[in-house]
Amino acid sequence: MTTLHSLLELGSTPTERRRDRAVRLSLLTLAALALASCAAYLLYDVQGSWSYALSLRSRQLGALVVVGVAIGVSSVVFQTIAGSRILTPSVMGFDSLYVLIQTVFVASLGGAALTLGVVERFVVNAVLLATFGVLLFRWLFRRNSRNLYVLVMIGIVLGAFFQSLAVLMSRVLTPDDYLTLQQLTFASFTTVNPTLLGVAALVTVAGLAALVPMLRQVDVVDLGKDNAIALGVDYHRVVTRVLLVSVLLVAVSAALVGPMLFLGLIVANLARQVVRTNRHRALAIGAGLLGAVICVLGQFIVAHVFGLTTTFSVVVNLVGGVYFIILLLRTTRL
């Protein structure tokens, strides 16, 4: 009910102002934290050639920031249109779908897939993902709009389904095509293709730009479908557009680093706790910043504290799995 409250009472009472100030403070803190972690990532413990280290590290940093922002923002808005704090695009199996699409792509084109430029390939994959993603979302939400846990379960099993289908297809490929596939899908934070990074950054910026004007309507959608429609919001249009943008952002992160099942879940829920508001403009900024902070700091810790004896995604899965269980228990008790 706080949402309704803050929406209707636009006048700036002292409590309102205090809350706004707290939100602004948390956003500023996050921004400072993001800058600090970026600086630390670039400059800490450089040995040998500075120019080499800086160019390598700035590429890695670029990928980390883009992925963090894309996952953070897309997860937080997706949570809202899905109406649940445990639903994120990754939990619904979207990034496994991206990997599957890429595999099918190589399987049907073979080596010819390589002749397409990075940009064209990304566009084709992203468009396919958007189409299937929206269809999938529609199917799921028409069927099981009442029981959210069933949705989560179907999403997770679908993720496993897409994943094993992709493995199956990659096993059927000829060795040549398999090599092509590996060249196309090999993705990690430590080796970043500069062209792909450029495309990903551009798409992320474009996606965010398209999202910003919709965020006020997302605030209203947060009140529930019936309320939103009663308040004059074109519910289906907003949901479809937000969905398209989040699928696009998922494609960005999946192309850059592959599936990260729980990153969005952690970032979005932490963002909601740090930035205590239901206004999505602030929430999205907070989630984007927090995503960048978590990615950069996480990779920094993996590299310098663990000495690369583990990977960021393993840590995310470990922490994220526990966090997911806790979230499940908390939401079912209520």
Binding site: R143, N144, R146, N147, Y149, V150, V152, M153, I154, I156, V157, L158, A160, F161, Q163, S164, L165, V167, L168, R171, V172, L261, T309, T310, T311, V314, V315, N317, L318, G321, V322, F324, I325, L328, L329, T332
Partner: protein, 347 residues
């Protein structure tokens, strides 16, 4: 067919009366017979398919070379397939009875993941560990893992079966992430794939025999079948009926863990098998464990046999691991089961 025992179905049923119970034992006997027949045909095919084709007709009078291929490779492989499939399906059935939740199975409760963790531990801690060492350690970790899951369930008292299964999947995922962490540290990621993706391609005489343990454990499971259902109804209910709750619960845990651990060590994990097979048999035959258990074992064996044959044929003469084929089919059927239960519940 001495295996078909119509009298069994006349025992009082534990679950709600279903069509199959009312129709009596004859149906049950016929199902078993048809199942056995299909399995026999499948096994026969399985013996003939491989890089060296053995024509079906030659099977009755093989040449010396063909005979060696059959006894050293094809026969062990087929037996391993049947035993592993039956074991995982029965383990799933027992877990579903104990937890009274049809979405619980060794692969959605951390059992399989804990067993894989154990195999990795054995490889790391016991240099030159043989099959027996690995099995013992995997069994211990599988027991601890499953027990931990049941403890979580009892603590939190969640009622929604889907939430329970989600917790189980995540719990398994956390154990899996820990395993990956350990494997990555020690450069064993490639080895890990052997246990996470089941494959029968390397099964030969001398490498699958521990799987026979499953038959013995399965017999124990059959003897305790009804009591597992009673235990699933809760501690007080079970005690009122004169069932030793703790004892039966531990028997069930041990049976499930032995089965899962053995299969993981010898073959690797086949995702969702233990979940979907008992559910499909249940949709079809009803709830009486004693009736359902043998059919479930047959169906599990048949499922794995079919997946393995398909995996051998898709890219002949190369092979696709059964875990991959089974993963696709298993996940697909699982989704169908959830959607089906949902639309039924609504209607």
């Amino acid at each position: 067919m001495t295996l078909a025992r119509p009298a069994v179905a006349d025992r009082p049923t534990a679950g709600p009366v279903t069509g199959a119970d009312r129709r009596g034992g004859r149906v049950h006997g016929r199902h078993l017979l048809v199942g056995l027949l299909l399995l026999a045909i499948g096994s026969y095919l399985s013996l003939s398919i491989g890089a060296v084709k053995i024509p079906l007709g030659d099977m009755f009078h093989p040449s010396e070379q063909q005979w060696r291929i059959i006894t050293l490779s094809r026969m062990p492989r087929t037996i391993a397939i049947l035993l592993a499939g039956a074991a995982l399906a029965v383990a799933g059935l027992i877990m579903q009875r104990i937890t009274q939740n049809s979405y619980v199975s060794p692969s959605t409760s951390g059992t399989v993941e804990a067993a894989i963790f154990g195999v990795l531990l054995a490889t790391l801690l016991v240099p030159g560990a043989g099959l027996t060492d690995k099995m013992l350690i995997a069994l211990a970790t599988a027991l601890i893992g499953t027990f931990g899951f049941l403890q979580i369930l009892q603590r939190v008292r969640v009622r929604d079966p889907i939430v329970v299964a989600l917790i189980g999947i995540m719990y398994g995922g956390v154990i899996g992430a820990l395993t990956t962490y350990l494997a990555y540290r020690n450069d064993l990621l490639q080895l890990l794939e052997i246990w996470t993706t089941a494959s029968f391609s390397s099964i030969q005489a001398g490498q699958y025999e521990p799987l026979y343990l499953v038959v013995f454990v399965g017999a124990v499971g059959y003897l305790f079948a009804d009591r597992f259902t009673v235990v699933g109804m809760g501690r007080e209910f079970a005690t009122n009926l004169g069932v030793n709750y703790r004892f039966v619960l531990y028997v069930g845990l041990i049976v499930v863990s032995v089965m899962a651990a053995t299969v993981v060590v010898v073959v690797g994990s086949i995702p969702f098998l233990g979940l979907i097979v008992p559910n499909i048999v249940r949709i079809w035959l009803g709830d009486n464990v004693r009736v359902v258990l043998p059919v479930t074992a047959l169906a599990g064996a048949g499922f794995v046999l079919a997946c393995d044959i398909v995996g051998r044929l898709i890219r002949y003469p190369y092979e696709i691991p059964v875990g991959v084929v089974g993963g696709v089919v298993g996940a697909g059927v699982f989704i169908w089961l959830i959607v089906r239960a949902q639309s039924k519940g609504r209607a």
